[in-house]
C-alpha cells in the first residue's frame, strides 16, 4: 500500500510502499529485492523509511519465557511496552530501556538502544542472548556473541541493514518492585553537573534535564535525576500509599489530538518553562519514590506529544562527545544555539560507558539530546553544529538523525563505517537492503577520498 509515512519527528514525510512482512516461510528470494523493516516508527528521522517497507508489527508472538534465567524469546514485532505489561508485575524489567516503551524488539536491536544506565549496564544488545536473522540472501541464521558473531556485531546497531530480525532472546532483569528510588540534585552549571555525574557514577540510572537556554554563568543549569530500583523493604519506610509492590499500569490519559500551530514552542515559551521547571523543586537535593512508568517514560503519558511541534515537525539532535573537553564543547554548543535564537524544548544529558558492536553510536563520554522545531535556517545551522561535534571527536545518533550529510557520517564514524560496509559486503555481496537513511548517508557506498 502506497502511503505518506513519517517517523516520530514528522520530518521527513515520504511516499513509501508499506506492507506486512509476509513471514520467513512466505518470502521468496527476489521478493522484493530491496526493502527495509519497520516497527513502530519511533526513530526520529528516516531510519525506517524507504521505497519499500515491510512492517514487523504482525510478528508479535511471545515464544517462551524461562523464569529462572529471565530469558524471553519473542518475535521482533512485539513492543517493549507489551513485554513490561506482561512481565513487570511478575518481577522482571527490561535490562535497558530507551525513553519510550513504544519501540519494537527488532527496533531496539537495530538501533542498539541505550537508556539511563548505559554507563553501568551497557546497551540493549548487551542483554540479547541471541537473535534469529533472515539475511539479505534470505538465509535464516541464529547469531549471538558466540555464534555467527560477525552477523551479530553487524546487526546490533545496524539500523536494519543486515536483513530481517525475526526473533530475539532477551535476558530480562529481576526486580522486587515497580518503584524507583529517585534522587534529584540541582546543578548550577555544567561544571557542577559533570562533577555530580562523576560523584554518582556507580548509581544504576542517571539522567540530567538541562536548561539549554540558560546563559553565562548559569549555562548548564540542570537537574540530575538518579535512580535505583526500590526493594520491597524500601517501600515500608515510605508513605502509606505505596502499598502495592507493583503499581497498576494506567493507559496514557492525555493525548495531543491535533498538530499545534507553529511557533507555540519558541525561545520565550521554552525559556519560561525551563525557568519554572528548574525552580519548581525547591530543595537542592530531594529523595522520593516514583513509579517505573514516571521515571523511565515521562513522555509516554502524553499520546502523540510530537504533535506539539506542529505540522512541520521537528528534528532531534543527539550527539556524543568524549569525556575529555566534552563539557566545554557542550557549553560552547549551547551558547551558539542560544545566540542564534533556536530553542530546544527538551535537553537531556546522559553519560555513556564502553560500547560493543560495529556501527555503534555510544562512546565513553557525554551524550546530549536536543529537540528543534523545523524552522527557517535550522538545517544549515545544524551543519555548523556538526562541524563542532566532529572536531571534538564526537558523532550523531543515527536513530534520531534526519539531516546529517553523508560526509559528516563517514568522517565522524570513520573506521566503524568502513568496517560495517566492508564486513557486510563480505558476508553478503548481493545485499540490496536499503533505507532512506542508508541512502542519504551512503552507509553502504564506498567513499572515495574527498578533499577538504
Amino acid at each position: 500500500m502506497i502511503r505518506e509515512i513519517s517517523n516520530w519527528g514528522n520530518y521527513p514525510v515520504q511516499t513509501c510502499d508499506i506492507q506486512d512482512f509476509p513471514g520467513e516461510k512466505n518470502i521468496l528470494p527476489a521478493d522484493p529485492d530491496s526493502f527495509i523493516m519497520r516497527g513502530l516508527g519511533r526513530s526520529y528521522g528516516d531510519a525506517s523509511l524507504g521505497k519499500k517497507i515491510y512492517s514487523s508489527l504482525r510478528q508479535n508472538h511471545m515464544i517462551s519465557f524461562d523464569p529462572d534465567t529471565g530469558i524471553l524469546v519473542a518475535e521482533s514485532g512485539i513492543s517493549l511496552g507489551e513485554i513490561l505489561e506482561t512481565f513487570m508485575h511478575r518481577g522482571y524489567f527490561l535490562p535497558v530501556t530507551p525513553g519510550t516503551k513504544y519501540v519494537t524488539l527488532g527496533g531496539a536491536v537495530a538501533a542498539d538502544v541505550h537508556g539511563k544506565n548505559h554507563h553501568t549496564e551497557g546497551s540493549f544488545c548487551d542483554h540479547v542472548e541471541y537473535l534469529d536473522l533472515m539475511t539479505p540472501a534470505r538465509q535464516i541464521i541464529r547469531c549471538s556473541s558466540r555464534e555467527n558473531a560477525e552477523w551479530f556485531q553487524l546487526t546490533r546497531g545496524g539500523m536494519g541493514l543486515t536483513g530481517t530480525i525475526l526473533r530475539v532472546a532477551l535476558r530480562l532483569k529481576k526486580i522486587e518492585t515497580g518503584w524507583i528510588q529517585q534522587r534529584n540534585i540541582k546543578a548550577a552549571n555544567f561544571k557542577e553537573l559533570c562533577a555530580l555525574f562523576e560523584q554518582h557514577r556507580n548509581v544504576t540510572y542517571s539522567v540530567a534535564w538541562v536548561d539549554c537556554l540558560a546563559r553565562g554563568k548559569h549555562a548548564g543549569r540542570s537537574i540530575l535525576m538518579l535512580g535505583e530500583h526500590a526493594k520491597a523493604e524500601d517501600l515500608q519506610s515510605a508513605q502509606g500509599r505505596k502499598t502495592q509492590l507493583f503499581p497498576a499500569y494506567r493507559k496514557p490519559g492525555l493525548s495531543v489530538p491535533f498538530f499545534f500551530p507553529e511557533k507555540i514552542l519558541n525561545p520565550l515559551s521554552v525559556k519560561t518553562f525551563n525557568y519554572l521547571y528548574y525552580i519548581s523543586s525547591f530543595s537542592r537535593d530531594t529523595h522520593f519514590l516514583t513509579t517505573c512508568e514516571n521515571y523511565f517514560y515521562p513522555l509516554d503519558s502524553i499520546n502523540y506529544w510530537n504533535r506539539i511541534y506542529g505540522k512541520r515537525g521537528f528534528v532531534q539532535y543527539q550527539f556524543v562527545l568524549p569525556f575529555a573537553g566534552g563539557a566545554d564543547t557542550m557549553q560552547y554548543l549551547l551558547e551558539k544555539i542560544s545566540q542564534k535564537g533556536f530553542a530546544s524544548f527538551l535537553a537531556v544529558l546522559k553519560v555513556f560507558g564502553k560500547q560493543e558492536g560495529i556501527l555503534a553510536f555510544p562512546m565513553e563520554g557525554y551524550t546530549l539530546a536536543l529537540d528543534f522545531p523545523i524552522s527557517h535556517g535550522l538545517l544549515e545551522f545544524l551543519n555548523e553544529l556538526d562541524a563542532i561535534v566532529l572536531n571534538a571527536g564526537g558523532r550523531i545518533y543515527l536513530a534520531k538523525d534526519a539531516r546529517m550529510s553523508a560526509e559528516m557520517f563517514h568522517k565522524s564514524y570513520g573506521d566503524a563505517a568502513i568496517q560495517f560496509r566492508e564486513k557486510l559486503k563480505n558476508l553478503c555481496p548481493e545485499n540490496k537492503i536499503s533505507s532512506s537513511l542508508s541512502e542519504r548517508l551512503q552507509i553502504l557506498y564506498p567513499q572515495t577520498q574527498k578533499q577538504k
Binding site: M1, M62, I63, S64, L72
Partner: protein, 243 residues
C-alpha cells in the same frame, strides 16, 4: 474459569478476544485453518498469561470434518465463539461462482454446520454459550457487498433462531454486528476514522456484552443507529443509491 473455543482464531478480532479471556484465566481452544499458526497463538497466550491453551486445525468449508472436530476437542467448551468469515471480492463473485460459493460457505454454511453441532451438545447439557460474529452488512443488502451481506444476513437470522431455541435450555446466544473494524480483512479499504474500531475495542465490547447477557451487540455503538436509519430507507430510494 471456563473452557472457551474460538473458531477462526487467526483473525484479528479473535486474537484480541483470546487475549482478554486468557488474561482472565480461562482455558482456550484456538481453531483455524493453519495449525502451526494456531499453535503459535496458543503458545503466545501461554507465555503471556500462563493460561492453558491449545491450537487446533479447523476448516469452515470442510463440513464433514466438523463432527469429529467437535468430538475431539481437548476440553468441553462452555463458550463457543464463531469468528471466521470471508469478505471476498463482490465483483468477482458476480461472475465467478467459486468466489460466490466461498463467500457463502465461509460466512454462512460453515457457521451453521459447526454451530448446529455445538448447539445440540449445549442443549443436551443445558449449559453453555455461543457468540456469533455477524456484520452490519447483514442488516441490508447493498450493491457493494451483497454476497457477503446476504451470507451474513442468513447468519444473523440463524443466530436469532438459535437464541430463541436455546433460551429454553438456559444457553445464551449473542449476535455481534461489527461496523468498520481495522483488521487484515479491511486492509487497504478507506474507512472513516471516527466510525472505525480497533480489534481491541471490539473484543472488549464483546466480552462485556456477553457477560451482561446482551442479545445483539453493535460495535462501535453508533452503528446501531446508523443501521436503524439504513434499514428504514424506503426501497424505492435505496435502490437508487450507490452504497
Amino acid at each position: 474459569m471456563a473452557n472457551i473455543l474460538i473458531i477462526g482464531a487467526g483473525s484479528d478480532i479473535a486474537g484480541a478476544i483470546a487475549k482478554i479471556y486468557a488474561r482472565q484465566g480461562n482455558r482456550l481452544m484456538l481453531a483455524g485453518r493453519n495449525k502451526t499458526d494456531m499453535q503459535a497463538l496458543a503458545q503466545d497466550l501461554q507465555v503471556r498469561y500462563s493460561s492453558e491453551t491449545q491450537g487446533i486445525q479447523f476448516d469452515a468449508r470442510k463440513f464433514d470434518s466438523h463432527p469429529d472436530f467437535y468430538r475431539n476437542l481437548p476440553w468441553q467448551p462452555d463458550l463457543v465463539i464463531c469468528v471466521f468469515g470471508y469478505l471476498g471480492d463482490q465483483r468477482k463473485a458476480e461472475t465467478e461462482w467459486q468466489e460466490a460459493l466461498q463467500i457463502i460457505e465461509s460466512n454462512y454454511t460453515g457457521a451453521v454446520s459447526i454451530l448446529n453441532i455445538a448447539a445440540e451438545d449445549m442443549a443436551r447439557r443445558k449449559s453453555g454459550g455461543i457468540i456469533g460474529i455477524s456484520s452490519v452488512a447483514g442488516d441490508r443488502g447493498r450493491m457493494s457487498n451483497y454476497h457477503y451481506g446476504s451470507a451474513k444476513a442468513g447468519f444473523t437470522a440463524y443466530l436469532s433462531g438459535l437464541r430463541n431455541r436455546l433460551y429454553h435450555s438456559g444457553v445464551h446466544v449473542l449476535t455481534v454486528n461489527p461496523g468498520f473494524v481495522r483488521t487484515r480483512m479491511t486492509e487497504g479499504l478507506p474507512l472513516p476514522a471516527p466510525l472505525t474500531a480497533t480489534p481491541e475495542q471490539v473484543a472488549a465490547d464483546i466480552v462485556k456484552a456477553f457477560r451482561k447477557k446482551k442479545n445483539i451487540l453493535y460495535t462501535l455503538w453508533m452503528w446501531k443507529w446508523i443501521m436503524l436509519i439504513i434499514r428504514n430507507i424506503p426501497e424505492f430510494i435505496f435502490k437508487k443509491l450507490k452504497l
